[in-house]
């Protein structure tokens, strides 16, 4: 061979090496698997109840690192608010968001109100600010529609049953889309749930009006058995949702969907925990035919839960394809002020930058440990980088006493069903007339 051919070969190999390295760094690094043989390595990074399950062989943690900064993969208006909203807002005695200078309650916030740099551990309202950020981070991606959301109930080693719903939400805060929307009622958001499966529950629907003030939610239920819209009490937020392990307050980004003023809060501190990423890669965000954003999963099948995987011997509700990344979190403790609330102490582990609550430990009113709620996350970005988002991939709640769990899945029938900035979702959909259109 001539010297020239050798140099070409070497150049080619070098190019391939560069491509391989860049591909590896774009995807992050897949680390070791943590199972019952080496569970000690993640002690302190997950709740004790979760660690116990690793010891028992129910869970396997696939550790990973990502080489992108997750905090940068949030909606553009969230990113700009990190600077624009510095020092702009505060929280008053009623836990409402107010203008920091005037003390007046604000009617609209663009992006998140309390940039992480503004939240100090010694701030007596730090928790309220963190919780507001959690709510408004979700609101920042509205209006939204999840065409199929599946609440899958699982026994320890097998499938139990499921309820399928369709979900709509219109948010009045956070997203520039909603600026200027008439909002005399001081809504924070309005939402609709319609049960579509199974047959005997199909048609059941719920509409919620959530307020920015301390006014209790206004709830309506459509009951197919009586063919009527019925007012529902907002006081049952710790009641089981459709018979699942979830209660109404277990939702949202943080695992808390209640009313902030109705709880006593305490900031325990900060730490690192393992956070579930659906994938170490960033999904591609595309617009559907209505101009709403949606994640395109590149045809990958994820998540894959234990009950779906042949040969899996662990818990049926465990996501066997997840990767786990260390993230910095706030540790927050909450207690309801309502003596009839069904949960006792709750401990939240909320991402300091992304406002997602990766874990929520739930005790019953007698102080016995009861449930573990967890939220996974994933990221998406459009090809032209004009839009990116960080969303909850799915929710999982495990009743540690009954050994039973419920998953709330957005990946249904091989497709991510959540659409963001859905312009066909309008405020008029959340009126009595709009609600009755869902009725059979």
């Amino acid at each position: 061979m001539t010297p020239i051919r050798w140099s070409k070969i070497l150049l080619g190999l070098l190019a391939m090496l560069c491509l391989w390295v860049s591909a590896a760094t774009a995807a992050g690094q897949i680390g070791k698997a943590i199972d019952k043989s080496n569970w000690q390595e993640i002690k302190g990074l997950v709740p004790e109840a979760v660690l116990k399950r690793v010891q028992e062989g129910d869970y396997v943690f696939q550790l990973a690192t990502v080489d992108f900064d997750p905090a940068q993969y949030q909606a553009p208006w969230i990113l700009s608010s990190l600077k624009e909203n510095r020092g702009k807002y505060d929280v008053n005695g009623k836990d409402e968001i107010v203008d920091a200078k005037t003390g007046q309650r604000v009617e609209f916030v663009n992006g998140i109100p309390f940039p992480p740099a503004d939240i100090k551990a010694d701030d007596p309202k730090a928790v309220q600010k963190i919780m507001h950020n959690g709510f408004i981070t979700r609101d920042c991606y509205g209006p939204m529609n999840t065409q199929k959301q599946r609440l899958v109930q699982l026994f320890h080693k097998s499938y139990d049953r499921h309820v399928q719903i369709e979900y709509w939400m219109y948010s009045y805060l956070g997203v520039p889309f909603s600026m200027g929307t008439q909002n005399q009622q001081d809504y924070e958001n309005t939402s609709l749930i319609l049960v579509t499966e199974p047959y005997d529950m199909a048609g059941t629907a719920m509409m919620t009006w959530r307020y920015q003030t301390d006014q209790p939610d206004t709830l309506f239920g459509y009951v197919p058995a009586i063919r009527r819209v019925r007012r529902m009490t907002p006081a049952g937020r710790s009641d089981s949702l459709f018979g699942t392990d979830f209660v109404r307050d277990d939702g949202n980004w943080t695992g808390f969907d209640g009313k902030i003023p109705e709880f006593e809060w305490r900031l325990i501190g900060e730490k690192q925990v393992l956070a579930e990423f659906l994938s170490p890669e960033i999904s591609r965000a595309v617009k559907n035919e209505k101009g709403a954003w949606k994640a395109e999963d590149h045809g990958k099948e994820y998540p894959v839960f234990g009950y779906e995987k042949k040969g899996w011997t662990g818990a049926s509700w465990w996501n066997t394809k997840a990767v786990w990344v260390k993230r910095p979190v706030w540790v927050i403790e909450g207690h309801s002020k309502n003596p009839y609330y069904n949960y006792g102490k709750m401990t939240f582990y909320i991402d300091k930058d992304l406002h997602i609550g990766y874990w929520k430990e739930i005790y019953d009113r007698a102080g016995q440990y009861w449930k573990t709620n967890s939220m996974s996350t994933f990221f998406m970005q459009s090809d032209d980088h004009s839009f990116q988002a960080n969303l909850v991939g799915y929710w999982r709640i495990v009743d540690e006493i009954k050994n039973h769990a419920t998953l709330v899945l957005q990946h249904v029938d091989g497709e991510f069903q959540w659409t963001l900035l859905a312009r066909d979702v309008a405020p008029k959909d959340f009126t009595m007339a709009g609600f009755q259109r869902l009725a059979k």
């Binding site: 529902m232 009490t233 709009g434």
Partner: protein, 516 residues
């Protein structure tokens, strides 16, 4: 017994003849017409929307969904039938083996257009292999009993159209207004089928869909009122004048009546635009908490009015006539924060409701001279107040709340006439039961669920202070895709008032349902 004692409502004696409308047509012709109307509607939709030929499933729109349920229900009496109930079967007898099939098709053609079709099949085998007594009933009246015990038709079928602030639902549907359960007040638009269980059955299972057009116009917010909307419906009397059916004599849920030598003629509404049902309702929310509605509509009374008539040759006949009535009413519901309960109220004023005054309805002189006696009318005011409260009783259920409902019903007959009676005979005298100027009832319901929603017990009870009570405990269990249900019904009463007439009808039912 004189003529007065032999005329009883709402049940038939022998030789029943139905006059007017669809009862005179073959059952098959009736079903054919309904299917034809629906097919025309579907074809029209298909011509309008070019995508509808693609029956594939991608996304929530343009997706065809097929679902339904198959149900079989065994019902046994738990006490001997007695009094005027006929036939008088013993405790432990099979009363019903009712088999139902529902197949539902939903198709979303676009964000503004979708349709839903529900086919229903029904077969009750008790008349073919049940107690001898019921088999004899079939032998004596085979055509009517076969028609009664089996059916297959388009149960519901409608298209939904959304255009800006206007929503239309066109087709065979159910419209339900009001706030109350068990004893409907404003909820009398669709007729009820009480022939296979009456108040032992869920209200929605008993509603008969009607061909109608419903529209809801979203008015948005007006002043302090939010979520204001105007709803209207129109059921053309030339297309569908279905009324509440009467159970054939000798069937398990026929009302207890004494034997009578007088023939009965049921007069159903004619095909006429004057026999249309129609109504308007305004509803909204005040101060984000007070749901209100104001309504006025025209419908048909479920219970036909009785009168004496004479056919040529001075042959007496009992006529049961379905009369129209107009109802004005309203409702209010709100969350009461101190008790953390929902309060519901409803009032309905029934204008010119037919009543039974034997001296008028059975006046032989008038009947002979005019061919038929008169049916007097009175205004009736009905109202209800209800409270719903969810409570934790952790000693009994750690994960789900108990839901309690207490309802009070009142009914006042305006311009009361102390000659008024209920057109039902008291056993054994045969006298007509008295009716008071003011009547009241209490209803209590409690339910919860266990095993992550799979086990659902419920108890309902109704009490009439005049001397009758009803208790309905039930429990259901789900093991996908099956549901198993057990329900009991206990009625008792010292006097023949309201549901106390059915005090020999205690029963227990076992249901198996497959959902798909």
């Amino acid at each position: 017994m004189g003529l007065q004692q032999t005329v009883c409502l709402p049940m038939l004696a022998r030789d029943v003849h139905y006059q007017n409308t669809l009862r005179e047509e073959e059952g098959a012709m009736k079903r054919f017409r309904q299917l034809l109307y629906m097919a025309q509607l579907v074809v029209a939709l298909m011509l309008v929307h070019s995508n509808c030929w693609a029956l594939t499933t991608f996304g929530a729109h343009d997706e065809l969904q097929l679902s339904g349920k198959l149900e079989t229900r065994f019902t046994f009496s738990t006490e001997d039938r007695e009094g005027f109930t006929s036939p008088q079967v013993d405790a432990g007898s099979l009363l019903q083996h009712r088999n139902l099939a529902y197949v539902e098709l939903k198709h979303t053609l676009s964000p503004t257009l979708k349709y839903r079709l529900v086919g229903r099949g029904l077969y009750d085998g008790v008349y073919e292999y049940g107690p001898d007594e019921y088999q004899e009933v079939r032998k004596a009246n085979r055509d009517e009993i076969d028609d009664f015990s089996r059916d297959a038709d388009l149960w519901e079928g409608y298209a939904d159209v959304n255009v800006d602030n206007m929503f239309w639902r066109i087709g065979k549907q159910i419209v339900s207004w009001g706030e109350t359960d068990l004893f409907p007040m404003l909820d009398r638009i669709n007729p009820l089928d009480n022939t296979y269980g009456g108040i032992f059955e869920d209200l929605d299972d008993r509603r008969i869909p009607l061909w109608m057009v419903k529209g809801i116009y979203d008015l948005g917010g007006v002043g302090a009122v939010r979520s204001l909307s105007l709803e209207g419906f129109y059921n053309p009397g030339i297309i569908d004048q279905t009324v509440s059916p009467l159970a054939p004599a000798g069937t398990p849920y026929a009302f207890p009546v004494p034997d009578s030598p007088i023939a009965t003629r049921v007069i159903e509404p004619e095909d006429s635009i004057h026999n249309s049902r129609w109504g308007l309702r305004l509803q909204g929310v005040i101060a984000d908490n007070y749901n209100f509605s104001l309504a006025h509509y025209q419908t048909f009374v479920d219970t036909p009015a009785a009168r004496l008539a004479f056919d040529p040759g001075m042959v007496p006949v009992q006529e049961l006539v379905y009369e129209k009535v107009q109802i004005t009413g309203g409702s209010l519901s709100f969350f009461e924060p101190h008790s953390e309960s929902i309060v519901r109220m409803e009032v309905a004023y029934h204008w010119d409701e037919p009543v039974f005054i034997p001296e008028i309805n059975l006046d032989a002189v008038t009947a002979m001279s005019k061919g038929r006696a008169d049916i007097p009318e009175k205004d009736v005011l009905r109202f209800a107040v209800a409270v719903d409260k969810n409570v934790w009783i952790r000693a009994l259920n750690k994960t789900s709340m108990f839901n309690f409902t207490l309802q009070y019903f009142g009914e006042k007959i305006m311009d009361y006439d102390n000659r008024m009676r209920q057109a039902v005979a008291v056993y054994p005298s045969g006298d007509f039961a008295r009716i008071k100027e003011y009547e009241e009832k209490w209803v209590f319901v409690c339910y919860t669920n266990y095993l992550n929603g799979k086990l659902a017990p419920q108890i309902s009870a109704a009490y009439d202070p005049a001397g009758a009570y009803l208790i309905l405990p039930e429990i259901s269990y789900t093991f996908e895709p099956w549901r198993v249900g057990l329900q009991a019904a206990f009625i008792d009463g010292d006097k023949d008032v309201s549901f106390g007439f059915l005090r020999d009808r205690d029963q227990v039912s076992l249901m198996f349902t497959l959902v798909f």
